[in-house]
Amino acid sequence: MFEYAPAPESRDVVDLKSSYGLFIDGEFVDGSGPSFKTVNPATEETLAEVATASAEDVDRAVRAARKAFDGWSALPGAERAKYLFRIARLIQERARELAVLESLDNGKPIRESRDVDVPLVAAHFFYYAGWADKLEYAGFGTKPLGVAGQVIPWNFPLLMLAWKIAPALACGNTVVLKPAETTPLTALLFAEICRQADLPPGVVNIVTGAGETGAAVVAHPDIDKVAFTGSTEVGRLIARAVAGTGKKLTLELGGKAANIVFDDAALDQAVEGIVNGIFFNQGHVCCAGSRLLVQESVAEELLAALKRRLGTLRLGDPLDKNTDIGAINSAEQLAKIRRLSDLGEAEGAERWSPACELPEQGYWFPPTLFTGVAQSHSIAREEIFGPVLSVLTFRTPAEAVEKANNTPYGLSAGVWTEKGSRILWMADKLRAGVVWANTFNKFDPTSPFGGYKESGYGREGGLAGLEAYLDV
């Protein structure tokens, strides 16, 4: 194993303020709720104080969005497009700043925020910019819904913002967006980008806060559309809250994806795909390949190779360019991962982690895998949302399908085999919104993403992603 000298990305590119307000009607304003701290999960250092939006603040934001709606929706699509192209370009220009800030606030490795999150964010705005004047070709009509209330999670703070805001604006809606309480900073930097783009005031409003603020956004009577990405548990609450209203709803929720490896797969590639599937972003990925289903005849060989590979993963400073695994986003999430992992052991599965030194400060969890997992075990059923892989085996393709689909979730799945017809047969049988074959965790603005069953409904990305923001 090689020794790596530290290669930290400089923080200088980020200009952190000591406190941040809400972004309403094109201005940064104080929130009337108590402010809260957002911390660097790798060091527990406080990064900034952030305002909490009360129900009154949310109401102000919704009114600003409503006021802006008439003008924004009446703009020719080509003009709306040009605003979104501007935003895409500004994101490209400020890419490194956004990446460093994302890693600071979220704990994800700079390699990922720099090479995955931020480029995808720019691409998403670029893609939906192009739709703004082409809606009539998409087949959903051209009528926007009105004001969209959008609540997003902490795992991909800026990317989830892009998935929500870009299509909403392209279709002519205005938005009130609530970022997660542990990761509000890139959304507030995005607000600054909206100002640099001269986006009309009120088209994008950002209200920070915790669950109560999100609930106020969802419950506001003048919201026409709710879009939520987060846990299935909260998704259910939201579906219940909007029942009987005229609000349109899309939900992108949890997952417990099966990553299925057949005996004819290219095992070295499969090992890389398994690692990417569950350890990308510390496993804080709703579509993570958290259940490895491996064909019995190659299980031993694959596990040996997988363990060898896990031994080379580098955990530590998220801003270090060599880091593979960063910090767990919050103490709360770390506690959940620990609880479920302990439960895995208590229920009889065998736990394994490579030798891995954890930093003393901050929230950390080593890459972990469980063998001897039964379908009834909690770690095979519940979404852990951390760097924890449960390994199960199968003998036949039919058994693989049966086990893969044996979950209330249906967001994604992976298939590893050199046989094309089997890939397509599996894809046909798997009840999941995205199926990756001989790859995993691939995202593109042109490609729809979203789940079956209790992983939510509606799609984000691609032509299909427009439907959520048009009065169909």
């Binding site: 080509a78 670029f126 192009g130 070709y137 094309g420 017809s421 089997r422 047969w425 046909d428 032509l463």
Partner: protein
Amino acid sequence: MSRLSVKKTYKLYIGGAFPRSESGRSYPVTSAKGEFVANAARASRKDARDAVVAARKAFPGWSGATPYNRGQILYRIAEMLEGRRAQFAEELGGGKRAALEQVDATIDRLVWYAGWSDKIASVRGAANPVAGPYFNLSTPEPTGVVAVVAPADPLLGLVSVVAPVIVTGNTCVVVASEPAPLAAITLAEVLATSDLPGGVVNILTGRQAELAPWLAAHMDVNGLDLTGVADAELALSCEQAAAENLKRVARPVQEDWTADPGIGRMTRFLETKTVWHPMGV
């Protein structure tokens, strides 16, 4: 003392370079009032062939670039054009306001087509539900090298016929407006500084009646857009010549370049490829 200006030599644009015509010929371009403005290169049959070679050479790279990349480059062309608004307006002549409107419409046209790069396949492609255990997918692909006879409208008309051809991955050889070719060469300067690979767009100035027939008959050209051909006999002979290797032909049309362009100019030079693959364990 008044300063004597340095005037630009208008040349051809082939393979990303600006050569003079190999024939050494030029022709005078005059203003609406009949005053001399500049000499334009009068391209020859050999120049046209060189341009086709350059377009063919650029095709694998350009058609193989990601649609996202092609979209970014078309948008970059729009950005570069925006920075030269005043120059183009002056070159177009006529009323300053009308000229600026033309330039603005041209920039917006580029932005319109830039957005299509990664959407046309979603609108024109399909998963086909064949009656059997097969995966069956149709996607649009570029036709290849397209020869474009540009309309008289020197900038908006030109961009309105070139952008839809290249955004999908085709490369092209363009015969610029014969009476008003200068904006086309200035546009080439924009293209050359917009990350557009050399050879994707090649621009010839000269006599339409001299150049179009060679391109129409060229066996390494796959598509022919006759939009700018006003002479019905020339159009007929070009279409007949194009039949030899079954070029896809767009016949001459009178078009209002300020109208919504639609997607017909893209789909005309697209092929549909359908892939079958069995499904089964």
